[in-house]
Amino acid sequence: MEKILDVKDLHVSFITYAGEVKAVRGVNFHVSKGESVAIVGESGCGKSVTSQTLMRLIPMPPGVIKQGQILFQGEDIVKKSDKEMEKIRGKEMGMIFQDPMTSLNPTMSIGRQIMEGLVKHQGLSKAEAKERAIDMLRLVGIPNPEARVDQYPHEFSGGMRQRAMIAIALACEPKLLIADEPTTALDVTIQAQIMDLMKDLQVKTGTSIILITHDLGVVAETCDRVVVMYAGQVIETGTVNEIFYSPKHPYTKGLLKSVPRLDLKKDEPLIPIYGTPPDLLNPPKGCAFAPRCDFAMKVCTELDPQMEEMSKTHKAACWLNHPMAKEVNQKSAVGSE
């Protein structure tokens, strides 16, 4: 399938008074046309920085793109000028932010916030844009859109604000939609509505989606492929089935074991991942997960593990998967029965 986005060896750092925080350290992944890709990981693993870099939204300074390429429809985003980026943001790429309470402009009506992009990018007249804004609100399931279009964010509930955000992001029919924890601030019944809506719209508009989340349930429900990040690096990537049924990195296995599941008996104890993620001011030598890993070997604290290919789609960066690693180690790894 045609790649719409290809991220190659991306490094992003923040220069702070305490030193250089290496938030993203060599990230590689791609998104094909019409595909949904999840980026999962804990807070501070670099998933949001990665996604914001895709749209060049990180503040520079203190942020710096140290190295790497972001090929979007074959063109390198890293090299674009701010002016060129303005033509891409909102038009070619849309973004849905985590917190619908703070990411809408409280002083602008919802309609005007949707119209903004339409007028700027598609050159519609105000009247046309308003028509389109009403259509968009209807599309995302807001009742009585003719009246709602003139209302302000404070008159909308949390779920409706997130719908309005989606309407803004999709108004110009972007080729890529980046959703950064779109349902984290919402209740589960509203989350179900929003996820349903996003799936529906994807079928209708054929856009590709990058979904950033820490909720593995949401990933299983909506995505085709998964990118697992830890300490600024991609440590495993594969199709949802590969990641959920045969994870190859101890961190992925740990994540899957540490969440309780509704459909399982409650007597099964949760297996937590002990310790905390490393400080990215001073990332550890070798595998960043080694200090928390039950199966760390000597090599793990010395050398960075390379991405090993399990299948065409499934890759993991762990020394346990190295052809020379002992079978025994693999068998006793967390989660493998």
């Binding site: 209740d187 179900a192 509505q193 996820m195 509704l262 937590p272 905390t276």
Partner: protein, 331 residues
């Protein structure tokens, strides 16, 4: 709304006697001309050594209920009997004594610890207030508590900002345990933590319960976690309890349409299962608690709504042994 408390007692025999009994608890907040009925007529018991889970969406009144039980809010109406004494009627002095028995763990580990106090002083504060330990003994006790929650006792002089979220929540737990309470209200103790850290804290809470015979009221919106930790679970909607059952029963066979929808809304981390699962997606938002719908509060979003639902408030009753719900379907 008569509640058969006797029947409730029957149900969880494996646990001890009734530790806490809540009768007709109401908490209304004035809001301009009208009132917000945040908690409206709760009736339940908690047994010694049991964990009761409270679930519901934001604004359903679960946190207010927890705070009213501890009398951080004065109840508008109703009784909270803790070992037979009504907490709502205690004098200030008696209340202080009672708080030695009931403690709380708060949601936000960043906001609930004083940033200008050392960990030792944070954990030591309840010891000072209740005059439980002084001098060298106080220090020993604090270190013992730190060890108990899995922190390094040598960190007694550090400040909260030097700890991670999960570690801070452990400090909050140590502070709650300092007075050796019988009953702890955990108000969303893990919502602010990362998934891999959540399991650490939940395991710690379970371990402490076994070790010290604690009783928990566990408030959360994460239903999978509540199922994991609770013996019984109560589902709340707009200030009212809509269902109460053992956690196995509730998850195996939810009776109230709201519980059913809530459970089906939770995605399960299993892609094949997710593909085959049928989901009940509720329409609309939770109505404002200032002006809840007449009759059954859930009727505006209920997929099984009937004529009677808008006219008559459903009765809270035991539909199956130990399984309570308030829904007209079961009349």
């Amino acid at each position: 709304m008569a509640v058969k408390l006797k029947d409730m007692n029957k149900q969880t025999k494996k646990h001890g006697d009734v530790l806490l009994e809540v009768k007709g608890l109401k908490k209304f907040f004035p809001a301009g001309e009208s009132v917000v009925k945040a908690v409206n007529d709760l009736n339940f018991v908690i047994h010694r050594g049991e964990t009761l889970g409270f679930v519901g969406e934001s604004g359903c009144g679960k946190s207010t209920a927890g705070r009213t039980i501890l009398r951080l809010y004065d109840a508008t109406e109703g009784e909270v009997l803790f070992e037979g004494k009504d907490i709502q009627k205690l004098s200030a002095r008696e209340l202080k004594e009672a708080r030695k028995e009931i403690q709380m763990i708060f949601q936000d580990p960043y906001a609930s610890l004083n940033p200008r106090m050392t960990v030792g002083d944070i954990i030591g504060e309840p010891l000072d207030i209740h005059g439980l330990a002084r001098g060298e003994k106080r220090k020993e006790r604090i270190q013992e508590l730190l060890k108990l929650v899995g922190l390094n006792p040598e960190h007694i002089n550090r400040f909260p900002h030097e700890f991670s979220g999960g570690q801070r929540q452990r400090i909050g737990i140590a502070r709650a345990l300092a007075v050796e309470p019988k009953f702890i209200i955990c108000d969303e103790p893990i919502s602010a933590l990362d998934v891999s850290i959540q399991a650490q804290v939940v395991n710690l809470l379970k371990e402490l319960q076994n070790k010290m015979g604690l009783t928990y009221l566990f408030i959360a919106h994460d239903l999978s976690m509540v199922k994991h930790i609770s013996d019984r679970v109560a589902v709340m909607y707009l200030g009212k309890m809509v269902e109460l059952a053992s956690s196995e029963d509730l998850y195996a066979e939810p009776l109230h349409p709201y519980s059913e929808a809530l459970l089906s809304a939770i995605p399960i981390p299993d892609p094949e299962l997710e593909k085959s699962r049928e989901r009940i997606v509720l329409q609309g938002d939770v109505p404002s608690p200032m002006n809840p719908p007449s009759g059954c509060h859930f009727r505006t979003r209920c997929p099984k709504v009937m004529d009677i639902c808008s006219k008559v408030e459903p009765e809270w009753k035991e539909v199956k042994p130990g399984h309570f719900t308030a829904c007209h379907i079961y009349n």
